[in-house]
Amino acid sequence: MSALRVLTAAAPRLAAVLLGAACVAWTAVPPRHTGLATLALVVSIIAVVAGALRLALADVPQPEEGFFPSAPVRTWLTFLAVLRGLPWEEIAVVALLWLEVQHPARPWHTAALGFALVAYLLAVHIAESGAPAGRLLRRQATLLLAGACLLALGAGFAMLPAAGPGAGSALLRVLAAAAVVAAAALVLPGRD
């Protein structure tokens, strides 16, 4: 009974860790051996691992500060401060997107990454806030469905042949996709 309870409590954290690892693996393959890609990969791995550690140590209380803490206590306090102070998930998202753009254009791959990133952020939020996952996902189901459609639409925009050669036509496609997303965000009713 207690094992089941522990598993229930640990499941969102485990899900967040697995989704983070999946995002890194999904983006890193096939490996790119340029300097920026390697840097982005290392940063994203560090950020995902640090985020996982932060979730794992979320229940560890902050030790009370004494007047003259010993070196191990000082190290532990600094480690906890770094772990809890930096926005690791944001860093991971930016690094993963940067790693993705290091690869040649692959629209459906990027769309899947986008969905995985949203799932990762939702899992992290559920794990750290203890929110009931079922109720939260039910409330956001419509929006997530619409987001998935827009993801597919964005990938479709990328696969359309350009009207003409040059950077202007590619930018136009980006603007068109952005306009569709903006319109959807404004039109969708904000019901519970």
Binding site: P87, L97, H125, G130, A148, V174, A177, L188, G190
Partner: protein
């Protein structure tokens, strides 16, 4: 749940989840523009949708109240050391997902989870050491249905009075001379009690039911039973708060207060009148002897104000005369470390009070290797022995109590028969 209502101010801001989604959306849009890849706009789309829906003023979005009514209920504002207690919190507004986080105050130990989801929460806690303790505060975190904005409010939790855990004491020291007042202790004078005292010859006026028929048959004359009178006594508990030594939780003052609480309960259960004097720097706090259950709590409230701190300019004073009724038994809980307090005890003994000292010193100076330290330690030990010897020579019983065993054990030699006090 009953409890006072607090109006707390709520500060609203984007949640961490919203900030992460915003990062994803901005990074996607920026990279899409820089690299001219429309699929990255798609990556930003779900985050933008969620953020757009949560914009203020959208239909279906609950308003953000600036203030909220929070009910705070405490099961009891008084508890004993180590006793489990609980504080209940509830917020009336149920439109938001609510999370409570307990930040326990100093000296308060949480005994349950410190984070609870829901409109109502119950936090259990214990207080390991006596004193007045602030429970701390509870952070109330409100989330909208999409968990993109969060409101934070601080709820100040009330204070509790933690009473020292009374020592176990079932037996009582009783004086040989008791005041002429009805009570439960058998006195040495005959009276209308229930305890058999002896047999004497019948005189006219004696009750017929008191006739001892076997003795009358044996002696050939009517004999009647006599009974001991039942009296109560005045007890004054003196707690020495001038010096507090030992580890927190088992210090001399901790043991003194626990012993005094146990003795107060034992004597009040025996229908005695009990008072207390907390002897400390800057004067004594005292409570005149009285009866009843309420007196027990008054005694502990008086003891809770005991302060072992020393202040510059504060003086030592004699014990208040009004707190010491004539013929009272004075039970002292002290580590006997301060010579002036010992002089005060000697003064009381010379005034004719029946004194009884419970020694609560359970610590010694740490051993050191240097010769001077070892010598100082030895001199200190001898001085302590001399103090106790001098008190015994004055006719003051001194017993040692370690705080772990029931108080009945060290008192056993004095509870079997009445304590004779030579005036």
């Amino acid at each position: 749940m009953a409890g006072p209502v607090q109006q707390v101010e709520v500060r609203w801001r984007p949640s961490r989840h919203a900030r992460r989604l915003l990062t994803l959306a901005l990074a996607g849009l920026l990279l899409a523009t820089l690299t001219r890849r429309p699929e990255l706009v798609g990556v930003a789309a779900p985050a933008l949708l969620l953020l757009g829906v949560a914009l203020p003023g959208r239909p279906g979005r609950p308003g953000r109240p600036a203030r909220l009514a929070v009910r705070v209920g405490l099961a009891s504002s008084r508890l004993y050391e180590g006793e489990l207690a609980a504080v209940d919190l509830a917020v009336d507004d149920t439109r938001f997902d609510t999370r409570w986080l307990l930040e326990a105050g100093r000296g308060v130990e949480p005994a349950s989870a410190t984070a609870v989801n829901g409109a109502a929460a119950r936090f259990e806690f214990t207080v390991p050491r006596w004193g007045r303790r602030q429970l701390g505060s509870a952070a109330l975190v409100l989330h909208d249905p999409w968990r993109l904005t969060e409101g934070r409010a601080e709820v100040a939790l009330p204070a509790v009075d933690c009473y020292p855990q009374p020592a176990v004491e079932r037996t009582r020291v009783v004086l040989s001379r008791l005041p002429n007042r009805l009570g439960e202790h058998a006195a040495r004078v005959p009276g209308e009690g229930t305890e058999f005292a002896g047999v004497r010859e019948y005189v006219p006026g004696d009750r017929q039911r008191a006739i001892n028929w076997p003795a009358s048959t044996r002696l050939g004359r009517l004999q009647v039973n006599t009974f001991a009178a039942e009296r109560s006594q005045d007890i004054v508990l003196v707690v020495d708060a001038t010096s507090d030594v030992g580890p927190p939780g088992t210090s001399a003052l901790d043991l003194g207060l626990r012993g005094a609480a146990g003795a107060a309960r034992a004597y009040l259960d025996g229908r005695d009148r009990v008072g207390v004097i907390c002897y400390q720097w800057g004067g004594a706090r005292w409570l005149a002897p009285s009866l009843g259950r309420r007196q027990f709590y008054k005694i502990i409230d008086t003891m809770l104000s005991a302060d072992a701190g020393w202040g510059r300019g504060e003086t030592f004073s004699r014990l208040p005369r009004a707190a010491l009724p004539p013929g009272a038994l004075v039970v002292v809980f002290s580590p006997l470390l301060d010579q002036r307090f010992v002089e005060t005890l000697r003064d009381m003994r010379e005034r004719g009070f029946g004194l009884f000292v419970v020694d609560v010193l359970n610590t010694v100076p740490p051993p050191r290797r240097t010769f001077s330290d070892a010598m100082t330690r030895r001199i200190w030990r001898m001085e302590q022995q001399a103090i106790r010897f001098a008190l015994r020579e004055l006719g003051v019983p001194v017993v040692h109590w370690d705080g772990a065993a029931p108080l009945d054990l060290p008192l056993a030699p004095y509870t079997r028969r009445p304590l004779v006090v030579h005036r």
